[in-house]
Every structure is written in C-alpha cells, then in structure tokens.
C-alpha cells in the first residue's frame, strides 16, 4: 500500500563508525533494557534453567536432568487435563472474543462520536473493573438464595439449589462465559483505534471501483488495512485465554472439582506455591511459554501471510 521511502539516515549510515553510533543508542535504551532484562529475560532464562533442577525453595537445588519433563508427560495425571482445558479455552474463548472484539468495534465505530464513546466505555467496563467477576460469584452462588438459583427455583425450573461452581457439569461453561464477558479489553480498544485510522480515501476509491455493500467493504478494505492491529488483538486474546487462572480459581475453587477448570497456569500455581516444587513448576512454565510461542507464530503466519 504505502511505498517505502529510503530514510536519509539509513543512506548515510555507512559513512559513520558503527560502534560510535551504537554506543549512545544503547545508553539511551539502557533504562528500558535494564528493566526488561531483570524482570523479563532473566526470569525466563532462569526458569528454563530451573526446569532441569529439583528445587524445594529452601534447600539448594539439585540437578535432575530431564526428570521434571518426564514427570510432566508420564507421571502427572493433572497435566493432560490442564493442557486440555487450556486448549479448550483458547480454541473457544479466544476466537469468539477476538471476533466479538472486532465486530463490536466495527459496529460501534458506525455511531456518532458521543454514542461511540459511551458504547465503547460500556463494553470496555468489564475490563476496567478488574476483579469485577466477583459479581458472578454472587449471581451463581450455590445458596438457594443466590440470584440464579433463587430465580430458577421460583420459576420451578429446578427443585434444588445447583452448586454452579462446584458441579463439574457447569463450572467450565460458566468460567468460559465470565472470560468472554471480561475479554473486551485492550484488543477492543485497539480495534476501535485501528478502525479510525483506516484511510477514508480508500473507501471512496472502493466505492468507485465497484464495492456495493458494507460486507464487501469490510472484507476488502477494512480488514486488510487493519492487519497489524488485528494481529496485536489476536495475540492479546490468546495471551488472555492462556493465562486464565484467577478467574477460574476464585469462582470454581482451588482445585476445582475433578480439575474441571484447571488450566496450565493454575497447575503451575499449585505446584509452585502449595507443593513447593519449583523445579517442576518451572518446567510447566517453559511448556506454557513454548505453547504460547507456537500459537503466536501460527497466528502471525495466518494473518500476515495473505499479504
């Protein structure tokens, strides 16, 4: 779309000494780099290393080779459940919330500025309230006086209070719904910003070139011009669904009945903070990290390759 103009800086680069320039550049980057290294890169590296050790927090770690990974794939009956649940969340909640975030943003963008800001505020509010999902706890309380139970009881649909969160039949679905409710986060806002940035001229050109309806406009102009925003949004959604943890534990208990809402992340919390098995927890995090990287790369290919 946009023609690449060669930057004058880039052109003249050859005439300078490489190191003389990089030095100040790196100095300028330092504040960020230091923080990034200490709080992101080093911990990731550290957990990769720790995943080959036995470490119970108090005593000196002992090298144990691949035993943590062996345990993960062979010995741990919770692990497959956790991976399954995480994938289920990712496959169902991820795409739905991604699509919802985009579609809602697209629709809201059609309104006038005032309505638009009001509506975007409304849809963004679940993300704003942070731990607002507690409200679901009250609604789906297992007490016969809980909102949903009380309502269903009084309408005669059920005869006994349902333990929504403690019943594996319902727990997973409810967490999924709550997650969807909360997912209108950053990606939704990013989508709105992205829509505003699409060049009006393109729509005019499209109209002249024979685009007849809004769907075609969406498909041929809007989506292609928003590719980078969409990738960003998708990555955020995936990350959100992969890291479902506190929602699940707060609502359905820790551990949930039959591990029905156990995700890799809750499993890591369990292993690390309750069983004090940091080595194994590190191995699990490495697995989760790898899983997220693969999905991220796949997404990139899926969305960018059409270029």
């Amino acid at each position: 779309m946009s023609t690449k103009v060669k930057s004058p800086l880039r052109k003249s680069k050859v005439s300078f000494n490489q190191d003389a320039i990089n030095g100040p550049f790196i100095m300028l980057l330092m504040p960020f780099l230091i923080l990034f290294l200490t709080f992101t890169i080093i911990p990731i590296g550290y957990s990769v290393v720790m995943s080959f050790f036995d470490y119970d927090v108090v005593n000196t770690p002992t090298f144990s080779g691949l035993s943590n990974y062996m345990k993960m794939f062979i010995n741990d009956y919770e692990f497959p459940i956790a991976v399954g649940n995480t994938l289920k969340f990712a496959l169902v909640t991820g795409p739905i919330s991604f699509a919802l975030a985009f579609l809602l943003a697209w629709m809201i963008n059609e309104f006038g500025p005032k309505t638009r800001s009001l509506l975007s505020f409304l849809f963004y509010s679940p993300a704003l309230v942070g731990n607002g999902y507690f409200i679901w706890q009250i609604m789906f309380s297992g007490d016969s006086y809980g909102y949903v139970n009380s309502l269903l009881l009084s309408m005669g649909i059920i005869t006994d209070a349902i333990q929504w969160f403690r019943d594996p039949n319902y727990a997973f679905t409810i967490v999924m719904i709550v997650q969807l409710w909360m997912s209108m986060g950053i990606s939704f806002l990013a989508n709105i910003a992205g829509l505003n940035n699409v060049d009006e001229a393109m729509y005019e050109a499209g109209a002249i070139d024979g685009i007849r309806n809004r769907w075609a406009e969406l498909w041929y102009i809007t989506i292609p011009s928003m590719k980078s925003i969409l990738l960003f949004s998708a990555v955020m959604q995936v990350q959100a669904t992969f890291s479902i943890s506190s929602v699940a534990t707060t609502l359905t208990g820790f551990p949930s009945v039959n591990h029905s809402t156990e995700t890799i992340l809750t499993h890591i919390t369990d292993v690390g903070t309750i069983r004090f098995d940091m080595g194994y927890a590190s191995a699990l995090s490495v697995f989760l990290f790898a899983m997220m990287m693969i999905v991220r790369l796949g997404l990139g290919r899926l969305l960018i390759s059409k270029d």
């Binding site: 019943d167 679905t173 534990t249 707060t250």
Partner: protein, 995 residues
C-alpha cells in the same frame, strides 16, 4: 449440550433481571442481606410494656424516699451471699427478695447502688420483680454498667505513635437508675407503689455484682430551658464571662496545663482514637499517630456513657460548643443526653442532636429547635456526662422493632406452610391455615400506615424509613388482595422485611466522634473551632511530605546498643500491630532489657523471606500446615530442644501441638486454636417440642438425635447446618482439613484416623472399609437428608431459618455482639457425638447406666515458630514464651476487643487466656469442656492433598452422584501418591542430616 443449554437459560434469565431491575415481581433474595430482628415469641411476654404501665397507673409522684439495704434480703439463693454490708451475686444465676415498707402511694424512681466485682467484664444483667411479678417488660432484663477507666498513660511505640492506655475496671460504688436496655424509653424508669408492704425481687443472669442498696426516690422534676433560665435568674445566677474551657474528648495530654480530663466510661472499648485528616482535631500531627478524639463506632449503643470532669473557675451559665464528626448516620441524627453533675438541668438536655456532615464540624446549637446548649457549672470540679440515647427516635424505634418482630413471626409461619420454594400455581390456602393471618396483616398494615404518616412532612414527602415501610405495605396489600397467590410474594416480603430490620439496627446505632467540648462565656466568640480551608491545605501538604519520610510498616524496638536484635513479621492490620508493639515495649522489653524487638508489618510469606535469606527470627501467626512444610525442609528450629518446652506445652490443651510435630521434633507452638460448637435457637426448639422433661430446649447429644431434630425442623421448612467451607484459595488448603468440614471429627469419634498408620503415617486411610463407611455417612447428610451445602449462618440463624447449626466457636462472640435482638433465645452446646461400642457392637454404659458418647473433635488453628536462619534462637524462644503466656495473650485479646469490639474476639490457643475472657460462666464451662475433647490431627508431608482429596470426593458424590466408596478409593489413591512422593523425597534428606 443440555448443560450448556441450562447455563444459557440461566444467563438469559439473568440478563432479563439485570435489564429490568425495577420490575416489581420476584426479585431474588441475596444471601448477603443483613437481616435483623425476629424471634418466635416476641419480647413482650405476659407483662405489658412501660407505656401501658404508665397509662394503667395514673397517679402522683411519691413524696417520700425509701432506701433498702441489700443485706436485709429475706430470701436468697445459695449463689447470693451477704458480704461487707451488701449482697454479692456470684457469676451464676441467682435471686434475692426483700420486704419493703412503702409509706405513701405514688410513683417512685428506682435506682441501685452497686459496684462491679472482679472476674467477668460484661455488664451486670438483672431482672426486677415487684410482688412476685415483673411490673413491665422493660424490668425483665436491665443492665447495670461496669465502669472503666484508663489504666496508666497513653502508650507509645518507639516512633512516637500513640495508642490508648489499657483499660481497667473501676470497682468504686455507683448509683444508677433503672433504665430500658433497648433505649426505647429515654427517661429513667419508675414504678407505681401503693402504701404498705411489698416484696421486691432481683434476678441475676449470671454476671457477678455487689449490690449495696435499692432506692425508691422521688422522681425528679425537670423544667424546660425557658423556665430553668428564669429560675436561675431568680436565684441570681450570672452568665460566665471568663476565658473558655476546653475538654478534650480523649482526655487531656497534660493535666498541669488542662485539668479537664476524661473520668470514666461504661464500656472498655470507648477509647481515645486518632484521626489524621483534619488539623482542627487537636492534637494534630502529620507525622505520627496521636490520640485526638473519642467515640467512633464503639460509642453507639444505648446508654453507653462517657464522663469528663470540668474545673470551672467561676460558677455561672456557660454555653457549650462541640467539635464532632457524625458521618455514620447519613442525613440523620445521632443523639446524646447531657448530664451535668449527674442530672439533666433542663428537659432539652435529654437529647442533643448531632446532625450528619461528612467532615468535622463545630456546633453549639444542638438543642431541639436549634437553641444553643447552655449549662450551669458550679465553681470547682463538675462532671459532665454524655450518654447515647435514641432521643426523639425512641418511641418510633420501639414501634419499628415491634413491627419487625411481628413481620418476622409471620414470615416464619408462612414459610412453615409454603416452604422455601413455593409452587406458584398451588393453592396453599394460607389464609385458612393461619386463621388470624388476614386480621394480623390488616392490623400491621394500618399501623405502618400511621408510622408513614408520622414520618412525612406537610407536603407529604417521606423519608427513607417511611419509604421502606411503604414498600412493605405494598407487599402486604398485594398478599391481602390476591390471597390465593400470596405465596408468590414470599421473596418480596422477605426483601422488604430484611431491609426494614437492617434499618432498625442502623437506627439504633448512634455512633459519634467527639474531639472536644468547649465551655465558653455566652457573650463571647469561641476561640477553638474547626479548621478552615487554608489550614487544612497546609496540613495536607505536610502529610504528603510526611508520607515520604515515614516507614509505616516497621515498629522499631526500644533496646540499647548492645541488645540482641530480633525481628518478627506479622501480616496483621496496623491497629493490631500497634497493640503488639505496645505490648512488647511495655512488657517484654521490661522483662528482657537485653533484647530489642522490631515488628514488621508485611504481606510477604515466610517462604519469600527464606528464599531471599532475609527471614525474620520468628513468626507469630502462620497457617497450620506451615510448620511441617518448612520443618521437613529444615527451615525451622526444633522447639522441643528447649529444656522448658514441656512446661510451655501445658498452657495448651493436651495434644494441641500434634500438627506441629514432625519426625520427633516440635516446630511450632499453637497460637490460635478453633473448634466447632453447636448453636441452637431455644425458642424454636421449644415451639417444636425439642425439649427435655422440664420443657427446656435440649440440644441433640448424638448424630442420630441430630438427624431426628433435623427432620422435625425440616418438616417445618427450616434447615439445619453443618460446617462446610469450599476450597477456593491457597490459604484454605493450608488451614488443614478440620477447618473445612466435620469429616475428620466424625472419624475421630469412631476412633478412626485420616491416615493409614497412627504412629508413622505413610498415606491416607481412605481405602479402609471403616473410613469409607464414615465418609458415606457424612455425605448422606447432604445427599439423603439434603442439608444445605452453602448458607449464610449468621443471617439465617438470626431469622430462625436455620435454628440449629454447627459452627466454629468464634460465632458465639459474633452472635452475642451483633445479634442483640435474639439475646436469650439461643444457646451454645457441645457438638453431637457417636455412642461408644465395644468389640461386640454393644453400647458401652457409664456408672449411671447412661450411654457413653464420644464427641471428640478435630481442631484447627495457627502456629508461631522460630526460623532456622535466626541468629538468636534463644532470645526468639523467650519472645515466643512471653507471647503465648496467659497474661500476654489475655492483654492482647482485650486490647483487640477494645478496637474491634466483642465480635472480633481473638481465639488464643492459651486455655487460661481464652477462658478468662468474658464469656459468662456457663458458656465458658461449655467451651472448656468441648475444648478438652479436641484431638488435633497430625500434619504430614503432602498433607494438603488430604484436604483436597476429601473435597474432590465430596463433590463428586454430591454433584455427579458417584458412589462414595469408589470416590474415596480413587481420590485416596491420588493423595497417597503425593504423600509418598514427599515422604520419600525428604526421607533422604533426613538420612543425610543424621550422618
């Protein structure tokens, strides 16, 4: 798919509910509602109330005074003894009767001369009978308050932060009038006596008191302000014209400068407090916490009084300005009665109105009609008393309470017929099955209509309270109109009813913060007033700067240079930490001058401290599983190595340290200990015949009886409760399985264990037949008998929907403090047990031929410990010993109660400290008896999996209808694997250590 459909369906309903929240039809009840008053039999028993009594006895005031010496009682129980020219009622119920010769017919004001007695700390409750019966219901139970004074000076931590002094009881002789304990009658109560001989009887309800005499005085005649001013003028009293006198509410900082000080109060929790938000609240300091006002939520119940002394330079009439904050009752008034030298000088002093404002205000126009408060002070020392009163709300509150009581009774009667979930289409014939229902409803409706009228102004605008009444009335109207569908309004009824009773509680709660009272010359301006914007701004800036300079989280010790440093971590609130620190500074440091203790408030776990090599020396309160978890990793000091450990362990019940034992060592001292008790509503038990041969409510002794009781109560649409806590976060797993449910208790009662080997556990016992059977019995309570899994005990017990429940004993304090309306209508008992059988299965009998019942139970609680990283374990041990000692624990518990109120009572593991608190004799006996039957369960490596396995198996049985035995086996195996892994992992470590 069906499940998903179900959820969707629920969701759709929910959306509907959210979109139309104002719809009049069924609005669901929430479990979180605050629900107040009710009881089966309303408080007005056979005797009428005071109002009726006054109407029935028109007559003149008495002209003579009669004083009865308490020692002259003609008849008395064994628990009442003559002592020092008075009568000593012990802390058991007792009764004494006097013969009184009344010289002339008329109204007499009743008053008592008494003093408090050591032991116990709640107010003395008595009942007054005249000629063998209560003259009116208010006399059935009245209170003579204990008097409290500051014990010593204001306490400080090393940073200069102040903390209220300890409180001690003043045992001097008091004279107090007979008063309505509810405050519905603001005036002192009188009795009408004919000339001649009468008998007067006092019943004590089990709080010790020394009674000297009973007075029948001439009721005081009080003039109105206008008349009183004329009278003063006639007597030649002048207006004061000197400099103003300031009385600091919290007491004076320096008696040499300001002699006006606080003298006494009727509640130990009315103590000086600190507000840092306003420079006008003097003394103010941006940097440290200084005590600068008194009152708050702890000074809110009727008849709670504070007395100050005021030294007047000259006799005369003073005006009084108050610097106060009343942001408790929004758009409403908190009332105080004002007495000078023990009397109201004029009528209006009976109710000073402190109106709502979000911030501090200075005001002297607090009399009705906005008149300035005036008082006459004599030269020299005067006393000024402010007492909580319902003021102008008294009669209305009485009506509200009466209405709420009746509405509550009616609700329970209706529920008994239609149940919790009535069928919308069924004809319950409610109005036929409760024949007088229509009449009662109509009557209630009319009364509420009149009350709404009373609360509305000339234009017909109504206030919040009237709006609630109106809502209730609408529901009643609908029920009366659609009699065959009345059950459909059940939840509306409940909603309106619970907001009414919540409102009633709020109305009676007259909190107030008082900074100071200023006695000034009526002609002059006040010098001390509230602060203006400029001052507040400067103060705000100062506080902001201070926030950078202060370390709010550390309270440093007061030790010399060479003192051994000790660090402790607590994750308590600031108030609690301050108490701890002041106790350490005041007591521990005095005993151990060579140790300097630093208290650090932190959220960090011990684990984080150990990882960063920055751990404290000891921890005072950590979860039950922490000691073993850390000990097996070698992070804790073995306390049994200290030679006096055996002595120390005797402070706790036998075996209280069992969960902290690991591999032959002891790694923690019990710090708190909790256990279950049974709570039951005596009124409801009596109503349904759950009584002994004397007609007194009788709690079930065995589980079989428990189920019998349950079925009777459930037949009448009530429920019974067993404790069950969902595992929702990490902390709960760490509390041990006994803190979550009663399964371990049931096992103990059958002589079984959670673990496979009592002495050397290597796994669970879940695969054993007996354990499986007990598990099935436990789950049967929920599946077969349908007990509620989740319910809000506190609210439902108050309404009476759950009249019998097993709960942690801490609920006793919560109920006695926060549910005054059911006082005397509930009891606490030991939990049910299992009959003991011998090998042949025949029941074991005791010497009297009664069945022996084992009602042991598993306890739960927290521990304190010393870390291996500590450089001074010996000093740390001294600190632990000091901390868990009875006197320290008792002091701490009392201080905490002063701050949080009785509901926040601390459950120390030290038996002497806890039973020494104010429980009342009978409650403390029951507690101690059950406490001695607490058998703590050991904690083992990987033990957290036991709690989980039980929980998993439990829910699989409940929600998936799985076979209990299969589930027990399945989840037991899972737990065993984890336990085995942990045991093996640390077995090697142990060997290494030994080598």
């Amino acid at each position: 798919m069906r499940r998903f459909g179900m959820v969707l369906c629920a969701l759709a309903l929910l959306c509907q509910m959210l979109v139309f929240p104002v719809a009049a039809e069924p609005v669901a009840d929430t479990a979180t509602d605050t629900v107040g008053t009710i009881a089966a039999d309303s408080a007005t028993s056979e005797s009428g109330n005071y109002e009726q009594y006054v109407q029935n006895n028109p007559g003149e005031s008495a002209s003579a005074v009669v004083e009865v010496n308490a020692a002259t009682a003609v008849q008395k129980d064994a628990t009442v003894t003559v002592k020092d020219n008075g009568l000593l009622f012990s802390n058991q119920t007792g009764k004494a009767t006097w013969n009184v010769e009344i010289p002339a017919t008329g109204w007499y004001a009743v008053a008592f001369t008494y003093s408090g007695v050591e032991g116990g700390s709640s107010d003395m409750e008595l009942g007054l009978e005249i000629d063998g019966k209560y003259p009116y219901s208010e006399a059935e139970r009245f209170v003579l308050p204990r008097i409290w004074v500051d014990d010593g000076d204001t306490r400080q931590d090393s940073n200069g932060n102040q903390f209220a002094p300890e409180q001690k009881e003043d045992y001097s002789i008091q004279k107090k009038p007979l008063r309505d304990v509810n405050g519905f009658v603001s005036d002192d109560l009188c009795v009408y006596l004919t000339a001649g001989s009468h008998t007067v009887t006092l019943n004590s309800f089990g709080e010790a008191i020394m009674l000297y005499s009973i007075h029948f005085d001439v009721p005081q005649v009080i003039l109105s302000l206008e008349d009183q001013l004329k009278k003063w003028e006639a007597e030649g009293v002048t207006y004061y014209d000197g400099d103003e006198l300031v009385v600091e509410g919290e007491g004076t900082a320096d008696p040499a400068i300001n002699p006006n000080d606080i003298v006494s109060k009727t509640d130990r929790s009315v103590i000086g407090q600190s507000d840092n938000s306003n420079p006008g609240v003097i003394p103010s300091n941006a940097y440290i916490r200084q005590l600068n006002f008194i009152g708050g939520a702890n000074w809110s119940m009727t008849d709670e009084a504070i007395t100050w002394k005021v030294v007047a330079p000259k006799a005369g009439i003073y005006k009084v300005g108050f610097h106060f904050r009343q942001n408790y009752l929004v758009n409403a008034t908190s009332y105080r009665s004002l007495k000078v030298n023990g009397v109201h000088q004029y009528k209006e002093q009976a109710a000073l109105a402190f109106y709502y404002k979000n911030n501090w205000q200075f005001n002297d126009k607090l009399l009705t009609g906005g008149e300035t408060v005036l008082v006459y002070l004599k030269e020299g020392e005067n006393t000024v008393t402010l007492t909580v009163t319902l003021g102008e709300m008294d009669a209305f509150s009485a009506k509200m309470e009466n209405i709420t009581l009746r509405l509550g009774d009616m609700y329970r009667e209706i529920i008994a017929i239609i149940g919790e979930t009535p069928d919308a289409n069924r004809r319950y014939e409610l109005f036929k099955r409760i024949p007088d229902l229509e009449e009662r409803m109509t009557q209630l409706h009319a009364e509420m209509e009149a009350m709404i009228e009373e609360r509305s102004d000339a234009k017909g605008n109504i206030d919040d309270i009237a709006a609630l009444l109106q809502k209730m009335n609408v529901v009643l109207e609908k029920m009366l109109k659609k009699q065959y569908q009345a059950q459909n309004y059940k939840s509306n009824y409940y909603d309106c009813y619970s907001s009414l009773s919540a409102q009633l509680q709020e109305m009676k709660n007259m909190a107030l913060d008082l900074d100071c009272m200023v006695f000034a010359a009526p002609e002059k301006e006040y010098v001390r007033t509230t602060s203006n914007f400029g001052k507040k701004f400067v103060f705000g800036v100062e506080r902001f700067i201070a926030s950078f300079m202060l370390d709010y989280n550390t309270a440093a010790g007061v030790g010399g240079e060479n003192a051994t440093p000790l660090t402790i971590w607590v994750n308590w609130s600031r108030d609690q930490t301050l108490v701890l620190n002041s106790l350490i500074n005041g007591h521990f440091s005095a005993e151990n001058p060579d140790v300097s203790v630093t208290v650090r408030m932190t959220n960090a776990s011990l684990l984080q401290g150990i990882m960063s090599n920055n751990a404290p020396d000891c921890s005072l309160s950590d979860s039950r599983t922490t000691p073993v978890n850390l000990a097996m990793r070698g992070a804790l000091v073995d306390l049994s190595k200290f030679e006096d450990y055996d002595e120390v362990s005797k402070w706790f019940v036998k075996g209280a340290d069992a969960p902290y034992r690991y591999n032959g060592g002891v790694y923690g001292l019990p710090s708190t200990q909790q256990f279950y008790m049974m709570f039951y509503r005596t009124d409801i038990f009596e109503q349904y015949g759950l009584v002994d041969e004397n007609g007194v409510a009788k709690p079930p002794k065995t589980w079989d009886e428990f189920i019998e009781y349950a079925s009777i109560l459930m037949l009448n649409n009530m429920e019974v409760g067993l404790p069950y806590t969902e595992l929702t976060d990490i902390g709960q797993v760490n509390g041990g399985v006994a803190s979550l449910n009663i399964f371990p208790t049931l096992l103990l009662q059958e002589g079984l264990s959670l673990y496979n080997d009592k002495d050397n556990p290597t796994g669970t016992s879940f695969a054993e037949v007996d354990t499986m059977r007990v598990f099935q019995e436990w789950t049967d309570y929920y599946t077969k008998y349908n007990l509620p899994k989740t319910y809000s005990f506190f609210n439902r017990f108050r309404i009476g929907l759950v009249p019998m429940a097993i709960q942690a004993y801490g609920q006793y304090s919560a109920l006695s403090a926060a549910a005054p309306e059911i006082k005397g209508r509930w009891e606490m008992a030991e939990i049910p047990g299992t009959p003991v059988v011998d090998e042949n299965g025949t029941p074991v009998l005791d010497a009297n031929g009664n069945q022996v019942i084992n009602n042991n139970q598993a306890g739960f609680g927290s521990a304190c410990m010393i870390l291996e990283q500590s450089e001074n374990p010996e000093a740390a041990w001294r600190l632990l010993k000091w901390w868990m000692r009875a006197d320290t624990q008792r002091r701490y518990a009392l201080d905490i109660e002063s701050i949080l109120g009785v509901a926040g009572r601390y459950s120390s593991a030290n038996v002497e400290a806890t039973t020494g608190l104010d429980w009342g004799k009978s409650a403390s006996d029951i507690l101690l008896s059950q406490w001695n039957k607490v058998e703590e369960i050991e904690e083992i490596p990987g033990g957290y999996y036991v709690s989980r396995a039980v929980d998993q198996a439990f829910w699989n049985v409940l929600t998936m209808s799985e076979n209990p035995k299969d589930m027990m086996k399945k989840w037991g195996e899972v737990a065993d694997v984890e336990i085995q892994t942990k045991i093996n992992q640390y077995k090697d470590d142990r060997k290494e250590d030994k080598e």
